[in-house]
């Protein structure tokens, strides 16, 4: 563990909680006496750090562009990840290709690192798909909207990984870990607690990656827990740690350690990535109704992108020409999104009946046939009758 940092939330305000931090908000490396986590980032080169920075910048731009598209009516809703880029890009960089991730619905940074097409990431929010990508292509499950439900799926998937003998072989291309992403609010859900039980008693290779962004819509973390969240894991017998969620390197290191434990067959880890939701819960939310500007300002000064930029500068990896290239990439991403999202049309109407079952089901088949018949019979006339009636 590194320095002792005062908990910034109103969870036990006087409490001092151990926090893994490897880079200070102003970009200096933290001296870690036991080198436990620092050792896990020692191999990262300037190129590696620049790649993290670039992914974080592109994730932030993705957020801004998607929010703008929502304001223009092109998306029904959007959930920003602004402020949480380090807690998403950092751990995603530590993953092995075969590791499986179960995101919640705000993991824009993880989707980016795992290579999901930017336009596909917004199919759900556009209202043209309930998913948007093939989980098998990216070892990344679809977003789950019922809070915490997928944490059990991740745990079950990890139990399957165990049965496949894909842990503890020592083969870095075979040993597989599973990551369940969820937030502070989800820790109150029964499913998350049951997942911890199942993972603990089975030594399942799952990493519980909890991004405590301080707010579950309008409710502060103090409405979810009277103890620091990472201590939840301890109660289940799961090794647990709190990491500075705005420090990409610390998040990388903590995830690397948790993955190593899972890959080796030594079971689960609970990580509380302590971060901040700088934006609204979603584009439908209004944070001015429930939180103070001073708090937002406190966290703005701890912006995770500023921190990794400061580190790059401090260590001589910053290059203005390269940074301008990143900005150009972000501009190009924006153009791709604006054109691509606007081109996403509604699927065919009969697709609402597709894939309800994998095998024929009389009810669905009958209703699909009826619907097609109705559409064909009333093509144009239903609207006409409505207009007639309105006269």
């Amino acid at each position: 563990m590194s320095d002792q940092v005062t908990d910034g939330s109103d969870v036990a305000p006087a409490d001092v909680v151990p926090l893994v931090q490897l880079v200070t908000p102003t970009g200096e490396r933290v001296h870690e006496p036991d080198n436990r986590y620092a050792a896990r980032v020692a191999h990262l080169t300037g190129d590696d750090l620049r790649a993290m920075y670039r992914d974080m910048v592109l994730t932030r731009r993705f957020d801004d562009e998607a929010t703008a598209l929502q304001r223009q009516g092109e998306l029904g809703l959007y959930a920003q990840s602004t402020g949480q880029e380090a807690a998403q890009v950092g751990p995603a960089h530590a993953l092995a290709v075969q590791d499986m991730v179960f995101p919640s619905y705000r993991e824009q940074g993880i989707l980016h690192v795992r290579g999901v097409d930017p336009v596909d990431r917004l199919r759900l929010y556009r209202g043209v798909d309930h998913g948007g990508w093939d989980p098998a292509d990216h070892n990344l499950h679809l977003y789950t909207l019922v809070i915490g439900s997928h944490v059990l799926h991740a745990t079950g998937y990890a139990m399957g990984v165990q049965r496949d003998g894909a842990v503890g072989t020592g083969d870095p291309e075979r040993d597989t870990a599973v990551v369940a992403c969820f937030g502070d609010g989800a820790t109150s859900q029964g499913d998350v607690n049951e997942a911890l039980v199942f993972a603990a008693v089975n030594d399942a290779p799952v990493v519980f990656w909890c991004q405590n962004n301080q707010w579950a819509i309008s409710e502060p973390t103090s409405r979810q827990s009277s103890a620091p969240l990472y201590r939840r894991g301890e109660g289940f017998g799961v090794p647990s740690v709190r990491v500075d969620g705005n420090d990409a390197l610390a998040c990388y290191a903590v995830m690397a350690e948790a993955l190593e434990r899972a890959h080796a067959g030594h079971g689960p880890t609970f990580v509380e990535a302590y971060t901040y939701r700088m934006g609204a819960h979603t584009t439908s939310d209004d944070p001015t109704r429930y939180r103070e500007r001073a708090e937002e300002e406190y966290w703005r000064q701890r912006d995770p992108i500023d921190r990794i930029a400061a580190l790059l500068r401090a260590e001589g990896h910053w290059d203005d020409e390269w940074a301008a290239g990143v900005e150009a990439d972000a501009d190009a991403l924006g153009e791709t999104l604006r054109a691509g999202v606007r081109a996403l049309d509604a699927p065919p109407t009969t697709s609402m009946f597709d894939d309800v079952y994998a095998t024929p089901h009389a009810q669905v088949d009958e209703e699909r046939a009826w619907f097609a018949h109705y559409e064909a019979e009333t093509a144009g006339t239903a609207q006409h009758r409505t207009e007639e009636a309105a006269r």
């Binding site: 798909d129 998913g131 679809l142 799926h153 139990m159 496949d164 049951e194 009810q363």
Partner: protein, 335 residues
Amino acid sequence: MSTQTMPLAKAITAGLRAALDVDDSVMLMGEDIGRLGGVFRVTDGLQKDFGEHRVVDTPLAESGIVGTAIGLAMRGYRPVCEIQFDGFVFPAYDQITTQLSRMHYRSGGRIQVPVVVRIPYGGGIGAIEHHSESPEALFAHTPGLRVVSPATPQDAYDMIRAAVASPDPVIFFEPKGRYWTKGEVDLDAPVPSLSDGGTADPLGKARVVRPGTDVTLVAYGPTVATVLSAAEALAAEGTNAEVVDLRSVSPLDVPTVADSVRRTGRCVVVHEAPTFLGSGAELAARLSEECFYSLESPVLRVGGYHAPYPVAKLEHEYLPSVDRVLDAVDRALAH
């Protein structure tokens, strides 16, 4: 010989054993199903023969059982979950309805979740609260689930194997009051095919189990035996009842029932679940659409009342009995 006489519960055991034998990805999960063999002994001996990784004693958490089963299915396994009693499925109701039922749909067919949830259900065993319920309509109302219930040992053996083989999730309601009813089971019967949607499909097709001409009695699971007894009593009185065993509540095999009702003109649907908004109500509505001009009387329902399942000392007044079925047939014939 491959044909043996056995109780319905043991036919399910045999079906599970056969499924475990032929497919290494099949696994069983539930509370007390390992060394104990389940509270009804349906999994008796299976952990000993197939190991703790394939017959898993889980923590006491139903949502956890179904939720982890979904994850295991995503990884390529075919989990069969046992819920200890009908009234204990509700902690898993969220996982079943918001996750299990729609994973295939929301993934555009990319993810299959071949999970079976076995639920001993129904009353008549003198049990305490939450141990005698029939919640099948709650699951049938959810798109994406198949909801079935066997009435005979042979169907139990065939249907559990078909359920395990199904790429779709199946809620498998076991009539616990009939667990110890014996019948012949052909253990060499092939696993019924699902893909052709043919009449051999026990997860979607009803079956006429007693031909008749005067009235159609429709039942499934525990009430099939009840209506067969009623049919015998009616025969003694000169009324020739046809009995249809639905076997599946989702999908409902309306054509088979409608075909019968077009011939008999009368129909009584019998289930233990409350009649209000139940599967009998749906069937009545469908029959009024499909064979309105063949009906000689309204479709009648016999089932549970819109009250929580009563105390054991009153359950025989609550459950559809032979006498209540006969009364309904009398009312149908009076038209």
